[in-house]
Symmetry: none
Subunit: 205 residues, 2 copies
DNA sequence: TTATATACTGTAAAAATATACAGTATAAAT
DNA sequence: ATTTATACTGTATATTTTTACAGTATATAA
């Protein structure tokens, strides 16, 4: 998608804001009034440029015939674009851009608790908890977890999604698959970092 | 909210469909063309009635100045409050207001395919497919289903979520739990209504 | 029988709107 | 020094659109 000039960005934002506020697109004159232009042709030219670059489409001959093709600020709508992070074998699931597989438009409060990102599940270790490969688990970044919570824990360079159980100096990371065994960590010997806990799950059929 | 007449319902639906398709509301003339009226005043009168009853608001003097206040079919929007319907023992999962348990703010296009509502799962018949009690299954209203699809089917007054398999005159509704048995329907003897199919799932932990 | 509400047709005019054309100004690129 | 792209002003007009007004038809309620 082609880059927008500063003014084109403003005009696109103006159209989107107007649309959100009123439910229908603005006229050329209304865009001018909003952005301080004195000629409807100013708006017209920017709209044409936006159409040529594929951000909007214009229904010729129709009043207010503007529709948004590619929104600049789709996340400003009802829901946000929540990042999906692959559960890679090594490294922690950071929110750095390079780890984000894609984004999904949804409400961060759609589950009982808010969440920060989706973790894409690899493997079958939690299958008996109804968590399949490629399911997206909604993770809330926190270290405040209780026994029995489904948590994301990092050990050395490995990140896993397991049930959490802590007893004195020992931490158990319990899978939900009888073919897998519990990971036991002696906290006096090895560090374990709780990255967050699951507050929900989504799956595409 | 006041009741709508049949024609008012049609006009409101027409506006919403147009809005979803084009991104902006229709003119009086376009409503007429769509619904077969021969005078723009026909549309005008219905719009006024819809405004008086609080379903839309009309920006006087503006072209296409219609905005939806209370949608008949809010599930058709984007980034909206998607209804959650309980899988009740009897009756079909209609979107009538009284069947909607709550609404969840999310994008109707968050899964591979768009969907119309969430169905709240009751029972354990699909547990081996990783579908638990109280999971919300995203349902797309369609009768276009293939063998192997996870579908919502109504038999008499009962609604179930099962895997779909059709062979000649027989329909099999297959559970994913070895403690449950397949429902077999002879379509020459009994009617079966496909309400829709699952395109995704969400669960709150 | 007479209202009353619903549901339109048909026409017309005023207002809103898109959009073409002719310019001006400025900064960056060639 | 000249072109090119961006970013406008200002005007004009054909077209679109709203919206008022005058009717017609039909079913239902009083």
């Amino acid at each position: 998608m082609k880059e927008l000039t500063k003014q084109q960005t403003k005009v696109l934002a103006c159209v989107e804001v107007y649309l959100n506020k009123t439910g229908f697109p603005p006229t050329r004159a209304e865009i001018c009034k909003e952005l301080g232009f004195k000629s409807p042709n100013a708006a017209e030219m920017h709209l044409r440029a936006l159409e040529k670059k594929g951000y909007i489409s214009i229904q010729s001959g129709s009043s207010r015939g503007i529709s948004i093709v590619k929104s600049q600020q789709s996340f400003e709508q009802t829901g946000e674009q929540m990042p999906v992070i692959g559960l890679v074998a090594a490294g922690s699931p950071t929110l750095a851009e390079e780890n984000i597989e894609k984004r999904i438009s949804c409400d961060p409060n759609m589950f009982s608790d808010s969440f920060d990102y989706f973790l894409k599940v690899k493997g079958l270790s939690m299958i008996e908890a109804g968590i399949h490969e490629d399911d997206l688990v909604a993770i809330k970044k926190t270290t405040d977890v209780k026994n029995g919570d489904l948590v994301v824990v990092r050990l050395e360079d490995e990140v896993t999604l397991k049930y959490f159980k802590k007893t004195n100096h020992s931490l158990e990371l319990i899978p939900a698959n009888k073919d897998f065994s519990t990971i036991e960590v002696d906290l006096r010997e090895q560090e374990a970092f709780v990255e967050g806990k699951s507050v929900g799950l989504i799956r595409t059929h």
